[in-house]
Amino acid sequence: MSRWSENADRSGAAKRLAASPPGTCATVRPDLPGLDGHELSTGRAAEVRAHVADCSDCAAAAAGHRAVRRTLAELGSTSVAPPDGLLPALLAAAAAPSARATAAVYGRGVVSGTRPGVAAASAGVGAFAAAGLGMLAWRALRSRRALAAESA
């Protein structure tokens, strides 16, 4: 097909499209619910809108979908009061030491050094614990040696 006839064909198709309502009710209906929700491609949305502009049945269906969507969106802004015991339970859970320790970032500065106070305190506690463990081990070793000497 020559370039001229291709162009002629395209312009003929465009004229036919402009002359008749785009799509049929059957092909347009499945896309009506998504028309206002940015669910269709720009081209498809334009086709569906063009059909809706010419077809009173589909226009009524589109209006119905729009109204339902608006109502559903409004449903999302409604609210019921939570049960009375819920807030105290949540606050109690948050007050538990383990929860606080997890939520706060105290641990982070220990390694990175960005919280020198916490790092120094942790180092102190660590050194104290290590000294305690060393002392226990030394005592155990000493008593074992004493027992060995007695039995010899």
């Binding site: 119905g64 729009r66 608006r70 109502t71 999302g76 609210s79 807030l87 859970a93």
Partner: protein
């Protein structure tokens, strides 16, 4: 939906006294309501809320702010609620009255603070009907409608959260919306509060 002051989140991350309490007080009603819309059972929604805050306490220190805290909290809540629903699907639900069942009253506080009494009554009735219509959907479609049309997530996000393909989400959405329109459209179109009609015009 949720409005969270970033300063409160940063205070929680610094371990400031009272910050966690402030965060919980500011968000727990929204978390509970989102959970309730999904699981439709007050007791289960309270359990989900507690689980959400356990996760929050565990993760808030590491929250890096790539999305807003509200978005992150929303996602944690949806995930926790969906997990709870999947757990529940594996066991019978005895003696529980689902929210939205006949006789179970609707929501008691509504966003717009000062509509007239007639408008308020119309809207409350419409929302109760909408709630009942959504509750009457099969659970798989209901979850999708809630996430997409009530909570405003994108189709792709809904697909990720539910583990379905985007095409499957779109098909279920279409069927559910058709069903909702059939049960609500007459009243919705003709009896929408005047202010909403003006707003959409």
């Amino acid at each position: 939906m949720m409005d969270v002051d970033p300063g409160v989140v940063r205070a929680c991350q610094r371990g400031e006294p009272g910050a966690l309490d402030a965060l919980i007080r500011a968000t727990y009603t929204d978390v509970y309501n989102l959970a309730l819309r999904l699981v439709r059972d007050r007791e289960e929604a309270a359990d989900v809320t507690q689980e959400v805050f356990v996760r929050v306490l565990r993760s808030v220190a590491g929250f890096r702010g790539e999305s807003s805290f509200a978005t992150w909290l929303h996602r944690v809540t949806v995930n926790t609620a969906l997990t709870s629903m999947r757990r529940r699907a594996r066991r019978p639900m005895l003696g529980r009255v689902p929210v939205g069942a006949p006789g179970e009253s609707g929501y008691d506080t509504i966003a717009d603070p000062d509509p007239g009494p007639e408008e308020r009554a119309e809207r409350a009735e419409l929302l109760t009907r909408a709630q009942a219509a959504v509750a009457a959907l099969p659970e798989s479609s209901r979850t999708i409608v809630l996430l997409r049309d009530v909570e405003g997530l994108s189709t792709a996000e809904v697909a990720t959260l539910t583990g379905l393909s985007e095409t499957a989400v779109k098909v279920r959405l279409f069927r559910a919306r058709e069903r909702l329109r059939a049960s609500l459209s007459d009243d919705t179109v003709t009896r929408l509060p005047r202010r909403a009609r003006r707003g959409s015009a």
